[in-house]
């Protein structure tokens, strides 16, 4: 009995091409206001590069053998993946689900609830791709990319975005109201933003914190991968970082969908 109950949270969803109709709906909305959407993702990394990279960077010794601004630049790309997909599938999805009743409207058509959620997750991953590519272009223009492997970052950002979207959707499925998103935002996202080897080498942390960051923080692995690809430091450990996403993403992808079903289909 117990096992089947647990298993019900990880049932493999049945999906069809209709997933893309939901994705397209979100994309239509995005394209209507794309100019407004681009500005924050363009301005924010510039501020960080100027303020932290150039300003604070004068006082900071090289991290992992890289000048400070070169060190933080790829981290900005990685954090933009996290923020854009996580917020898309928490606040934005919640508004569509709860306030606009968009999900209800769609499931009255041949599109199933699982396909709605999958479409939302793929859109969250797409937001990660779009925003991180903008940030990547900024650091390219700043001359902070030294390896052609940076071309692998956009496809990677989709995968990373898919994981953050899936985790976000799990919270959306269980949150009692929109204000409760403060918990995952401040207790999960913000600590990751600071402690995932973003603004200083993870090796400066106490050992326990390092373990926590490596085991529980997807951003640690996103930063490691992005940094390796922008500066061209390829190593075997990158495969571990990549597998971290390959293993956890399907898990949270299925979980978020089953949690949503339990929330919306009584």
């Amino acid at each position: 009995m117990k096992i089947s109950r647990v298993a019900s949270y990880f049932r493999v969803p049945k999906l069809s091409y209709r997933v893309w109709k939901v994705w397209k709906r979100d994309q239509d909305v995005f394209m209507k206001t794309y100019k407004v959407n681009f500005i924050p993702s363009l301005v924010e990394p510039i501020l960080y590069l100027l303020g932290l990279g150039l300003g604070l960077g004068i006082f900071v010794q090289p991290q992992e053998g890289l000048p400070y601004i070169v060190f933080i630049a790829p981290a900005l790309v990685a954090t933009s993946m996290m923020y854009s997909s996580f917020f898309e599938c928490t606040y934005a999805s919640f508004v569509r689900m709860y306030y606009q009743k968009t999900f209800d409207a769609i499931i009255a058509t041949p599109v199933s609830l699982e396909e709605v959620i999958a479409g939302e997750l793929l859109w969250g991953a797409t937001k990660s791709l779009i925003n991180s590519t903008i940030v990547l272009s900024v650091i390219l223009l700043f001359g902070l990319v030294s390896s052609p492997f940076f071309l692998l970052i956009p496809p990677l950002s989709f995968l990373i975005g898919l994981l953050f979207s899936s985790i976000a959707m799990c919270f959306t499925a269980i949150t009692p109201n929109i204000d409760s998103f403060n918990y995952p935002s401040f207790l999960f996202i913000t600590p990751m933003f600071i402690l995932s080897g973003t603004f200083f080498s993870i090796t400066s942390l106490p050992v326990t914190a390092q373990i926590v960051a490596k085991v529980f923080f997807p951003l640690t692995h996103a930063v490691a991968l992005t940094r390796a690809l922008t500066v061209g430091r390829l190593s075997v450990t990158l495969l571990l970082d990549l597998s971290w996403f390959l293993v956890t993403t399907p898990f949270f992808f299925a979980l978020s969908m089953n949690l949503m079903k339990k929330r919306l289909i009584k």
């Binding site: 909305v29 606009q100 009743k101 009255a108 058509t109 041949p110 199933s112 289909i265």
Partner: protein, 306 residues
């Protein structure tokens, strides 16, 4: 020839935890008719609708739409149904026209055809001038019309209207009624829920009255009126003496006191009330036709439903 049954429910039951929202009901909707679910708030009408259009799983019983089982052929059923829900779930991010286009996509309708269809529907619902307006700027009546238009985008065989005119002014309500009638003429089977008895009397060929999850009565509006409340109702101002007098004059009638008025229901033929009014005079007396609301209140009581 036997009429074609489009929707068939057998011992249909829906529970939410301990609450029995729909309690073992049976009904059949025949092709081409307008079928009404009447009942107070919380009677189980919307829950029943949601099971018919396959967004709520059944707890028990059987439910077939066009011969297909809702539990395993949801996708096929949803293709042939149009749903106008009670609450506004139009997409506020889009204009009127774009709402229809995006919705058409969910049904795999090619873009060119969707545009043509949307154009026709906006004209049909008298919204063509609003096609580029954002949803926020529409009045309640316009939103409702757009919801009906959206429900028609896939040229459904069955149209489900969940309280289609709640909160509308008389003009908007009559427009929607007109459109429902003309859709029925075009051969669309209509299933509607309402707690406006006039609406049911105007539109429905057959109705069921639901209360506390059960179907407590069914039939055509006129038959139900005749069966339960007779043809005419006499209303007079309340007075102890008058009450006694009426009881004697109509021994088999049902007398109801509602606020400060007495209502007399009888199964005797038309004219008995005017006879008595010619002989005696009562304060504030009037004779009116019995209506579905009388039936409804008789069957479901006057207790407020929260």
């Amino acid at each position: 020839m036997e009429p074609e049954v489009l929707i068939e429910a057998e011992n249909l039951t829906k529970k939410f935890g301990d609450l029995v929202a729909v309690d073992n009901i049976n009904f059949r909707v025949v092709k081409g008719e307008c079928f009404g679910f009447l009942g107070p708030n919380g009677a189980g009408k919307t829950t029943t609708m949601k099971m018919v259009h396959c967004v709520l799983p059944l707890t028990a019983g059987r439910l077939k739409v066009a011969g297909m089982d809702v539990t395993n052929q949801a996708r096929e059923i949803k293709k042939m149904i149009g749903v106008a829900p009670q609450e506004d779930n139009l997409d506020p991010d889009f204009t009127v026209l774009h709402n229809l286009i995006v919705y058409a996509r969910y049904f795999d309708i090619p873009n060119a055809e969707a545009l043509k269809q949307a154009d026709e529907l906006l004209r049909f619902m008298q919204l063509e001038e609003k096609q580029n307006v954002i949803i926020d700027q529409l009045s309640t009546g316009m939103k409702r019309r757009l919801i009906v238009a959206r429900a028609l985008i896939n040229k459904p065989q069955i149209l489900i209207l969940d309280e289609p005119t709640t909160g509308l002014d008389p003009q908007a309500r009559h427009l929607i009624w007109d459109k429902i009638r003309s859709l029925q003429k075009q051969g669309v089977t209509i299933v509607l829920t309402t707690h406006y008895m006039e609406e049911a009397a105007q539109l429905c060929d057959r109705t069921v009255i639901m209360d506390n999850g059960k179907i407590i009565e069914e039939g055509g509006p006129a038959d139900l009126i005749k069966k339960h409340v007779g043809e005419e109702v006499l209303e007079v101002a309340y007075d102890e003496e008058v009450m006694k007098f009426l009881r004697n004059a109509f021994p088999d009638a049902r007398l109801e006191v509602v606020s400060d008025r007495i209502q007399v229901f009888t199964h005797q033929p038309k004219g008995v009330f005017s006879e008595i009014l010619n002989k005696f005079s009562f304060k504030a007396a009037m004779i009116r036709d019995a209506n579905l609301e009388d039936v409804f209140l008789k069957l479901t009581g006057r207790r407020l439903r929260e």
